[in-house]
Homo-oligomer: 130 residues x 6
C-alpha cells in the first residue's frame, strides 16, 4: 500500500463519518499545515478506521470513550455527530456516557452529557428540516 | 430497587467477568473499607454493568478504552482477562489498542499492548492446563 | 436504605450546596437522561456527600482540589460558589489554589485563580444587591 | 525573606511531615541535582506548606486528593504516612478516597485504597514495636 | 539571592516573553491574590526561566510541549506568542505540534494546531500594521 | 513515498536512538501484533522523527517533556537513554525536568528525576566498562 492509497482510504472513511459542513471546518487545518492534514487523513483515518476486525460502530464506541476520558470535548461534539451518522442511537450514546461515569467520575460525564444534548437537538432539527 | 438488589446485581456481574482468583484479590479492599467495597459492587457493577441498552461485550470495549486512556494499567490487566472471559477475542483486544493509538499516543498504547501480551500468554496456559 | 432515601439525601445535600439558579441549570441534564440525573443525585450526592466522618467544608476542600487537578474548570465555578455558600472564605479558596500549584503546576492554578476571581466578583454583587 | 529562611522553613515542615527514614530516601534526589533539591525544600515545602490560612491537616487533605486525582501513586504512599504523622485518622483518609471516587472514577480510587491499606498495616506494626 | 532578586529576574524574563498587552491581562491575577502573583513571577519565571544550561528557545520548546500534552489550551496561545517573540519560527512551532501527535494523539494536536493558526494570523496582522 | 520507505526511515531513526538491547526488548511487541509494530516503526519513527525542521536533539526535548507530563515513566527511561545516545548531556536532561516542575508540579518531576538518576548511573557503568 503506498501513500496515495492510505490517503484515499482515509478520505473514504471521513466521508462516511462527517458531513460536508464538518469536513469544511476541519480543512482549516490544511491551510495551517498541509503535512499535518495528510497525517490526519492517512494515519488517523486511513491507517486506523479503515482496518478490519472492528466495525465502524465499534470504532466510534472506542473514540467516544477516549474523548470523554481525556476531556477532549471539542472533538467529542464532532464524533457524537459521526456516531449518529453511522447509525448509533441516542440511547447508545447516552449509555456510553453513563458507563464512563464509574471510570472517569461525574465532572467529565456531566460535561459530555451536556454536549450530547446539544448535538441531539441540532441533529433532530437538521433532519426535520430536510 | 433497594440496596440489596443493587448489591446482588453487582455480584452477579462480577461473577460473569472475573475468575474466583481475581475476585479473591479484589476482596482485599473489603477488609480496608467495607463501605467502599459495597460501593464498588452496588454502584460500580450493579448500577452500571447491569443496565440494559449495551451488551457486556460493548461495556468491555468502553472499559478497556477508558483504562488505556487514563493509564490505569493495573486495572487494565484485570479487565483484559474479563474481556476474554465474556468472549472478546485476542484480535479484538489488540485492535482496540491499535485504534486507541491515534487518540492517546504511542506510549500508552505500547504499555497496553505489553500488558495484553502477558495476559494472553497466561490465559492460554491456564486454559490448556484445564 | 432504599433508593428513595438515597435520592432524598442527595437532594438535601444539593439544596445546601447550590442556589436555585444553579440547580435549574443542572436540571438540563435530567431532560437528556433521567437515569443519569438519578445517578448524579443518588450516587454523586446521596452516597458521597451525605456520609459521615467528614464535614461539608472538608468535602469541598477535596472537591475543589480534584476539579483543579483534572482541569474540570466548568464544574470548578459551580463548586467555588458552593464552597462560599457553605461558609468557606475567599482566603481559604485562594489558599487551596496556591497549595495546588506545587502539585499541578502553574497553568492549571492560574486558570483556577482566574475563575475564582470571577465567581468572587459576582458573588459579592449578588450579596450586596440583596 | 531571603532564601536561607525559605529553606529553613521548608526543612521544618518536612520534619513535621516525614520520618527520618522517608527523608533519607528523598535525599537521593539531592545527589542527582542539588538545585532541584533546594527547589523542593524552599518552594515545595517552604513557600507552600509553611504559609498561613490553612492548617497542616487541611493541606494534607489537598495533597492526598491531588495525588489520587493525577494518579501519582508513588508519592501517595509517602503522603498517607505524613497525614498519619500529623494526626489524620485512618477513617479520614479512607473517607477522602471514597469522596474522590465520584470525581475520579473507581480505578484510581481502588488503587489508592490498596496503597492506604498497605501503609496502615506497616504503620501499625511500627507503632506497636515502639 | 534574596526574594527581590528572584522577582526582578522573573520580571525581566516576562518582558522578554510577553507583550505589554499580554502582561496587563496577566496582572488580573495580581488583584485576586498578590501572593500568588509573586509566586508566578519569582518561582515560575525567576527560578525557572532565568536559570542557565538551556536557552530561552529551548525552554519554549519544553513549555509548548507540556501545555499541549496537558491540554492547557488557554496558556498555549500566550506561549505561542511568546515563542514567536523570542524568535521561534512558525515552521518550528508547527513541527513541535506534529511531533507531539505521536505522543498525545490527534485530538490534542488538532486543537493545538487550530490555536497556532489563530495566533499566527493575528501576529502577522500586528506586525504588518507597525 | 511508499510504505517500505517509511519503515526503512523509521528503522534508521531507531538505530540512532536505541541500543541493540533496548530494541530487542521493544520487539516483544512485534510478536503480539506485527501490525502494531509496523505502525510504531513507520508512523511513530518514520513519519515523525525522520522529518526535517527539527534536529534529533530538539525532538528528544519534546519527547522527554511529553513523557514527563503524561506520567509515562516506563518510556521515559528508554528515552533518557536515547537522549544521552544522541548527545544530550546529563545537565540538559536534569534542566528539562527542573523546567517542567513549574508546569506539571513536583510529584511528576520528582519521579522523573529519580528515573534519570538510575539511568545516569547505569549509563556511566556501561561506558566505563567499554
Amino acid at each position: 500500500m503506498d501513500n496515495n492509497e492510505r490517503y484515499e482510504k482515509g478520505s473514504y472513511v471521513m466521508n462516511e463519518l462527517f458531513s460536508e459542513e464538518v469536513q469544511t471546518g476541519m480543512r482549516n487545518i490544511q491551510k495551517i499545515s498541509p503535512d499535518f492534514w495528510d497525517m490526519i487523513v492517512s494515519s488517523g483515518f486511513g491507517d486506523l478506521y479503515a482496518r478490519n476486525t472492528l466495525t465502524m460502530e465499534q470504532r466510534e464506541y472506542i473514540t467516544l470513550t477516549t474523548l470523554i476520558t481525556q476531556g477532549a470535548f471539542d472533538q467529542l461534539g464532532v464524533h457524537i455527530q459521526a456516531a449518529l451518522n453511522i447509525g448509533l442511537t441516542q440511547e447508545e450514546i447516552i449509555e456510553i456516557i453513563i458507563h464512563c461515569t464509574g471510570y472517569v467520575g461525574f465532572p467529565k460525564a456531566i460535561q459530555a452529557m451536556g454536549i450530547a444534548g446539544e448535538i441531539f437537538k441540532n441533529y433532530e432539527l437538521n433532519n426535520t428540516k430536510v
